[in-house]
């Protein structure tokens, strides 16, 4: 399980968690991401915003090598997590994805019980030695995801029978269960109603104590609410990145200004 770091550890980690340098992504002949450099701070929330097709999700997916699953996709440049190049041939993408979890736009619980949804990852990664340890992981993951009180009496019911918002928090609990360090979220609230959205946002705010979170969102208000830093992408380029309050009150680039004020195109 994640242990709270000591103060010394926290100080030692004041450097970037994720460091991207001259990242290029190609889909066949299409140059989808161009020269992206970004430093992502640990234990904070970074939002990626931008119009559809700007490359924000594509870039997000380079951080846990989800793009590897697409045959025609090619990634160049370097992405380091804690100083380690994740595209190094020695890195096992399965291990990487345990360290860098992901939550998608549409809640996608496995067609299994609530318990098994959470226990699946710890089982395949061998994180629990016995049933008691596995129970602990399941309950603490659900607690961290703020779902425990709602589901503790029906852990054997199917995860797919929950409400959309609960399913999404279940997916977040599932991501947490394998003790990741980074959680990537690709529009995690776009299929949720405002109350379920607020619960997920509250959860994101709590999770940033222990995790580095990167979230892609189409809602600028959401980016403004949940993130400490915001990056604006346009046509595959990272146009501007900075403290969220600066991006939304006084962006430096005209393209950012036009986008956040609804003047695009």
């Amino acid at each position: 399980m994640n242990e709270m770091p000591s103060i010394e550890q926290a100080n030692a980690m004041s450097d970037s968690k994720i460091s991207a340098n001259k990242v290029q992504v190609y889909y066949g002949d299409t140059h989808a991401i161009k020269d992206v450099d970004i430093e992502i701070q640990p234990r904070s929330v970074t939002s990626f915003i931008g119009p559809s097709g700007c490359g924000k999700s594509t870039f997000l997916r380079t951080i846990n090598r989800m793009n590897d699953t697409i045959d025609i996709c090619r990634v160049e440049g370097s992405i380091k997590i804690d100083g380690e190049d994740i595209y190094d041939p020695k890195v096992d993408p399965v291990q990487l994805r345990a360290k860098v979890g992901m939550v998608f736009q549409k809640p996608n619980p496995f067609p299994k019980s609530i318990y098994d949804n959470i226990a699946y990852g710890p089982r395949i990664h061998g994180l629990a030695r016995n049933k008691a340890e596995l129970d602990d992981i399941v309950s603490s993951s659900l607690q961290k995801a703020g779902l425990w009180e709602e589901v503790k009496n029906r852990l054997d019911e199917p995860g797919t029978g929950m409400s959309g918002g609960q399913q999404q928090r279940l997916c977040i609990a599932r991501a947490i269960a394998v003790s990741p360090e980074v959680i990537l979220m690709d529009e995690p609230c776009s299929a949720l109603d405002p109350i379920a959205t607020a619960k997920v946002e509250e959860l994101i705010d709590e999770l940033r104590e222990n995790f580095t979170i990167v979230i892609v969102t189409h809602s600028m208000q959401q980016a403004a609410r949940v993130s400490q830093r915001t990056a604006f992408f346009h046509l595959g380029i990272l146009v501007e990145e900075g403290p969220t309050e600066d991006i939304f009150t006084n962006p430096k680039d005209k393209r950012t200004q036009d986008y956040i004020t609804g003047r695009f195109g």
Partner: protein
């Protein structure tokens, strides 16, 4: 600035800027009329100035309602957010300018006699000219989105303050020389103070215009020094 995808938003912003300009016009007229009523002891003008303040107040409320509505409906960001917050603060300042002008007009009725010192009248008029020019220039800077002009208004406020200080000393001298003029002089002193404060509101507006246009705070490069506090 290019236009919003939602054109009604542009119309609302334009309408709001128009209302602020209208408030500015009313405040300017109220201020000029109040001082002119004071200098020429024109009771009719003083009364109409007092009555006209209601229009400015109503407009202020209308603007405030509109701004709250825009925040709720549009969730402004960036430049728009700065425009809307600046408009709210500027509307407050203009409403206060109107109140101060109204207060000068009320004192015209209370004094009930002309300024018996030509020198004092000239002092008040000169201070008014400067403060009025400040109000005009800052409203211009707002309409033209001119941060540099706003900065100049902030700088020029020191002159208004300086004249106020000298008027204050002069009134003090009169009161010491002849206690019978104390009532009149105290009213005049309040009028002068009101004019000085109108200058301060012009400076506030200048700071908001600067922030609205640039996104940066206007540095306060002069010391806020009220020399009259040392003169007593």
């Amino acid at each position: 600035m290019s236009e919003h995808t939602v054109s009604a938003y542009d119309e609302e912003l334009t309408e709001m800027a128009g209302k602020i300009a209208e408030m500015g016009g009313l405040a300017e007229v109220a201020f000029a009329d109040a001082v002119s009523a004071l200098v020429s002891q024109d009771l009719e003008l003083a009364k109409s100035t007092i009555a006209n303040d209601e229009r400015l107040d109503n407009l202020h409320q209308e603007v405030e309602m509109k701004l709250v509505e825009m925040i709720a409906r549009r969730q402004p960001m960036g430049q728009d957010l700065r425009e809307i917050t600046a408009a709210s603060r500027i509307a407050n300042d203009l409403e206060r300018v109107g109140d101060l002008a109204k207060n000068v007009a009320k004192r015209v009725i209370a004094i009930d006699s002309g300024l018996n010192s030509k020198k004092l009248a000239i002092g008040v008029e000169h201070m008014t000219e400067l403060a009025l020019a400040q109000v005009k220039q800052v409203l211009d800077a707002y309409t033209r989105r001119d941060a540099e002009a706003a900065r100049r208004v902030q700088e020029a406020d020191a002159e208004v303050d300086a004249i106020y200080t000298s008027l204050f000393r002069e009134l003090l001298t009169y009161m010491m020389e002849d206690p019978r003029v104390i009532t009149q002089c105290v009213h005049l002193l309040f009028c002068a103070k009101n004019i000085e404060r109108i200058g301060d509101h012009a400076t506030n507006i200048a700071e908001n215009v600067y922030y609205m246009v640039t996104g940066e705070r206007l540095p306060e490069d002069r010391e806020k020094l009220d020399e009259t506090t040392g003169a007593v």
